[in-house]
């Protein structure tokens, strides 16, 4: 099947592997290629990264630059999202022909890949994988492949495969599965199913030698002719199908590579590798918790077991004060305490820990040191937004007995109860310092606009002053103001036509340009638990940078279930791009490249204000295997009606990697580039980046095309994500931290 042109060295190695003369198993590291996918140099391999690995790769050779985010979704399935830039794109055509694709000096595109490893490498059999490159969208770099990889000795592996599409463009061997139909691009964003594995197929192969733990040498025979880039547009000179590279693994988190590409170009690559399952340093560094204090026996110290203090408000309030002081170091705020016979109920707020279980565990430990011996039952109620979600009921004697047990974590969970908290709790003794509570911070902030056709990204960096004033339990006034000290967000990107849709999001350039300083949000939010399983929220004010108004929400979240149902109704008006207090829209934000707006004629859909009612019914379900699905059905900001499907892989420590698609009654034509709204979301708990406690999470949403169809209000503090970590399944995700 391999043609004689292939280097004899590669052939020799391939046949050695095929004959099974060396029965090596996978012992080398699976590496990434210039597409940021698991593979050789430009070609894929059949290996997979370890489950959950998230990598950001940037690679450059000749005129071609690629920036890729890849994720090992399951042990066998991986996906990538990529920004591609090709310089000198129009140099052979423009002038004179500067229309269509030739208008860009640098051609930018985005692409999605999926790969599936069908078999693991065995003693004799290779690993086999099948992949789709750029399978949705404009399909400019579309290709499909089947590839096999086998170790011939422990540190040398060989890959060989068959490619279609652009991976079948150099010296094809025919079209085994039929002709490739022409691509119907339209507005992009369609699945090009008709093309997959059709048309000419060409073989590729390569070898990877892991010299030692740090260094790897690679060589490959590429089946990609670079027809458009090299032959047609002359962006570089492709002289040879052979690529060579050397790579250096600086650490688990960084891999660097240098390459000689296609007999004419030098390439470089850097891969940043994040492992959500592993924390730097091996664990969150916090001060040690209180040691559990055991009680003297009743006979030895009857005084300690006295209950004469019960009902004495001074003694009970004194106990609250002592517990409060003891827990201050642990980042736990005691809101109130209450005694029912020999049961002590404590309401707490976790201020610093990324794991609620740790706040609960530390409270329990502190209670063993503070509570009189007669108190046998501890009820700990972690509060969020002034609402009790669950209550953890613990027996003090279990804490005493299990502190150093090998299965302490499992046993304390089995012997405690996590129950739904009632909607109303009797107050007991409240800490007067718990409310009202003001917190503020002044911190660096950045706003990034990714990929606006002019540059891969633009950035504004400055300072954000944010404040949060908790007036009473459940009532929060919060706001943030940002001022940019450095910004190139003012560069005007191309503004494509909106096809009659109001610019509910696509005028973001004007918000970036005019909102400096910007009142990012300023809103009053009220949370209320309505019944043991029903929660409510009302938010009023400047809810987000583009909208202000009122947002109301209800959530039904049964305890001990994996699902929840919510409903949200909002009445909002679009804020002025200067992001002060006004709601009047200036004429210039209706500008597009092909339209000059006018309020009098209504050209470009110009109007001086925009008010809209939006709302959704949402269903949430957490699967056993760490996957989480959310479906929202309702009315979106442009008045369009449709549904959003979001799928996330959620790690117990708070990392979440997901993708979403929204389809509404806005047609693909009207939507514009991309056909429908879709994107990737990433949530990274700060604690797991820094290795020290923090309740904060860094979130990022990347959309290949930011348009106006299928857009939702971006209100802070939606109920589901606020309370779900406090339901039994949320509390027990990081239950190992109870004892830490």
């Amino acid at each position: 099947m391999l043609r004689p042109k292939i280097s004899t060295a590669v052939l020799a190695l391939v046949s050695a592997g095929a004959l099974g003369t060396a029965l090596a198993q996978a012992e080398s590291r699976p590496t990434l290629n210039l597409y940021g996918a698991t593979g050789l140099i430009d070609m894929p391999s059949a290996e997979s990264q370890p489950d959950g690995i998230l990598s950001v790769s940037t690679s450059h050779f000749g005129p071609i630059s690629r920036t890729t985010l890849s994720f090992q979704i399951t042990p066998r399935l991986s996906g990538s999202f990529r920004f591609l830039g090709i310089r000198d794109w129009n140099k052979q055509f423009c002038p004179p022909n500067c229309a269509g694709a030739n208008q860009f000096d640098v051609y930018y595109d985005r692409s999605f890949d999926l790969r599936y490893q069908i078999t693991d490498e065995g003693r004799f059999l290779p690993a086999i994988a099948v992949g789709l490159q750029d399978f949705v969208g404009t399909g400019v770099i579309a290709g499909e492949y089947v590839v096999a990889t086998k170790h011939v000795v422990p540190n040398v592996k060989v890959s060989a495969g068959l490619g279609w599409g652009r991976l079948g463009s150099y010296k094809p061997i025919g079209s085994p599965l039929g002709e490739r139909p022409p691509l119907v691009i339209g507005r992009g964003g369609n699945f090009n199913t008709g093309q997959w594995f059709r048309g000419p197929a060409a073989p590729f192969a390569g070898v990877e030698w892991q010299v030692n733990d740090q260094w790897t040498a690679k060589a490959e025979y590429s089946s990609d002719a670079y027809e458009e880039e090299a032959a047609r547009r002359g962006t570089f000179d492709r002289r040879s199908p052979f690529n060579f590279g050397i790579e250096y693994q600086r650490s688990d988190a960084l891999r660097l590579g240098a390459y000689y590409m296609h007999g004419s170009e030098v390439g470089i690559a850097a891969h940043f590798i994040l492992n959500p399952k592993r924390r730097p340093g091996g664990g969150i560094v916090t001060s040690a918790p209180d040691a559990v204090k055991t009680r003297p026996s009743r006979g030895a110290d009857p005084e300690a077991w006295s209950t004469s203090w019960l009902g004495d408000s001074e003694s009970e309030n004194e106990l609250r004060g002592r517990l409060s002081r003891r827990l201050a170091n642990d980042g736990v705020q005691v809101e109130s305490i209450r005694f029912d016979g020999t049961t002590a109920q404590v309401r707490i707020r976790n201020l610093t820990s990324d794991a609620e279980a740790q706040a609960v565990g530390r409270t329990a430990r502190a209670m063993t040191r503070v509570m009189p011996a007669a108190v046998e039952q501890f009820v700990i109620v972690p509060m969020v937004g002034g609402m009790p979600v669950s209550q953890v009921v613990l027996r003090r004697s279990d804490l005493e007995a299990l502190e150093f047990d090998i299965e302490a974590s499992e046993k304390i969970l089995a012997r405690s109860q996590i129950l739904s908290a009632p909607a109303m709790l009797n107050d007991g003794y409240r800490d007067p310092e718990a409310y009202p509570k003001l917190s503020w911070s002044l911190a660096p902030t950045a706003r990034v606009r990714v990929f606006d056709q002019n540059a891969p990204f633009k950035v504004g960096a400055g300072l954000e002053l944010s404040g949060r004033y908790e007036v009473t339990p459940g009532l929060v006034l919060s706001g943030a103001v940002a001022k940019y000290l450095f910004s190139n967000l003012d560069d005007r990107p191309p503004l494509p036509d909106r096809n009659g849709l109001h610019p509910v999001r696509s005028a973001s350039y004007f918000y970036d340009r005019d909102g400096d300083p910007a009142l990012e949000s300023f809103a009053l939010t009220y949370y209320q638990k309505l019944s043991p399983e029903l929660y409510g929220r009302v938010s009023l004010g400047y809810l987000e940078r583009m909208y202000g108004g009122i947002s109301t929400e209800m959530l039904w979240m049964p305890t001990n279930r994996r699902w929840a149902i919510g409903a949200e109704v909002n009445y909002t008006a679009q804020r002025s791009p200067d992001q002060r207090f006004g709601f009047s829209l200036p004429l210039d934000m209706f500008q597009t490249d092909g339209c000059t707006p006018s309020f009098t004629t209504g050209a470009c859909g110009a109007r001086s204000s925009y008010r809209v009612v939006t709302g959704h019914v949402s269903g949430y379900y957490k699967f056993d295997n760490d996957f989480h699905v959310q479906v929202d059905v309702g009315r979106y900001l442009a008045g369009d009606v449709g549904a959003t499907l979001s799928l996330k892989r959620e790690f117990d420590n708070g990392w979440r990697v997901g993708a979403f698609v929204t389809k509404t009654n806005v047609s693909a034509e009207q939507f514009g580039s991309g056909s429908f709204d879709k994107g990737i979301t990433l949530e990274v708990p700060i604690a797991s980046l820094l290795g020290r406690p923090s309740t904060k999470t860094q979130e990022a949403t990347v959309r290949p095309f930011g348009r106006d169809g299928g857009q939702r209000l971006d209100v802070d503090g939606r109920l589901y994500d606020t309370v779900r970590g406090y339901r039994a399944d949320g509390l027990t995700e990081q239950w190992g931290r109870f004892w830490k």
């Binding site: 650490s251 940043f272 399952k277 340093g281 091996g282 040690a288 150093f404 503020w440 911190a443 300072l463």
Partner: protein, 216 residues
């Protein structure tokens, strides 16, 4: 007043977050943390670690032991703060604790890569083979048990020095292995069946710590 405000603002602008928020995190922290994980840590500064002396110990009133983290050379004095059914918990002044059952470490807290729980042997006996279980939290905070197969052997009488004083002791060597991980602990036991000094394995990220009983 104005100067203080300006100084405060300057402090905030040097990429460090500030405010009353006890949980404020600066961008610089994140960048530094990622750079460290990508490029690797700088070698720990050796300066500033002062070796313990008897003269300094004489100033300490409470009975103490000396804890040393082998990988960094950091030393700290620890004092007993609690005893739960024979397990003693000892703490440094900055809230790092180790818990000992008959002198064998069964838990640590405050290091980060802590030993959550362990079953340890009685090392004052003559020797033998047994199993040992260590529990660590993985990156997703789930407890993971590692079962080690161990042997304890008597390596004979040795002189062992603990801060300028030499003791005659029996050197016990505990060798443990599990798939992908192994360690060797040393215990120096004096005639009164007390562990005078020991060097014990905690976790792959922390390595060994040494505990020396510096009480007279």
């Amino acid at each position: 007043m104005k100067t203080t405000l300006v100084l405060g603002l300057l402090a905030c602008t040097t990429l460090v977050a500030c405010g009353s928020d006890s949980d404020s995190i600066g961008t610089a922290d994140i960048v530094r943390s990622f750079a460290t994980s990508a490029i690797g840590t700088l070698s720990p500064a050796d300066a500033g670690i002062e070796r313990m002396t008897r003269a300094r110990l004489a100033e300490v009133v409470t009975p103490v032991m000396l804890l040393t983290v082998d990988s960094t050379g950091q030393e700290a004095l620890i004092a007993e703060i609690e005893n739960n059914r024979g397990v003693e918990t000892w703490s440094t002044v900055d809230d790092i604790t180790i818990s000992l059952r008959n002198g064998v470490i069964v838990a640590t807290r405050g290091f980060g890569a802590d030993l959550m729980a362990a079953s340890g042997p009685n090392v004052t006996r003559s020797g033998g083979s047994y199993g040992r279980v260590h529990v660590l939290l993985n990156g997703e905070d789930n407890p993971e048990q590692t079962r080690f197969a161990c042997t304890l052997q008597n390596a004979g009488a040795k002189a062992v020095e603990v801060v300028e004083i030499t003791y005659q002791a029996t050197h016990m060597i505990e060798t443990c292995s599990a798939p992908g991980e192994s360690f060797t602990n040393d215990y120096w036991i004096t005639g009164d069946q007390k562990i005078r000094k020991s060097r014990q394995w905690i976790s792959p990220d922390l390595g060994y710590i040494t505990i020396a009983d510096v009480r007279r």
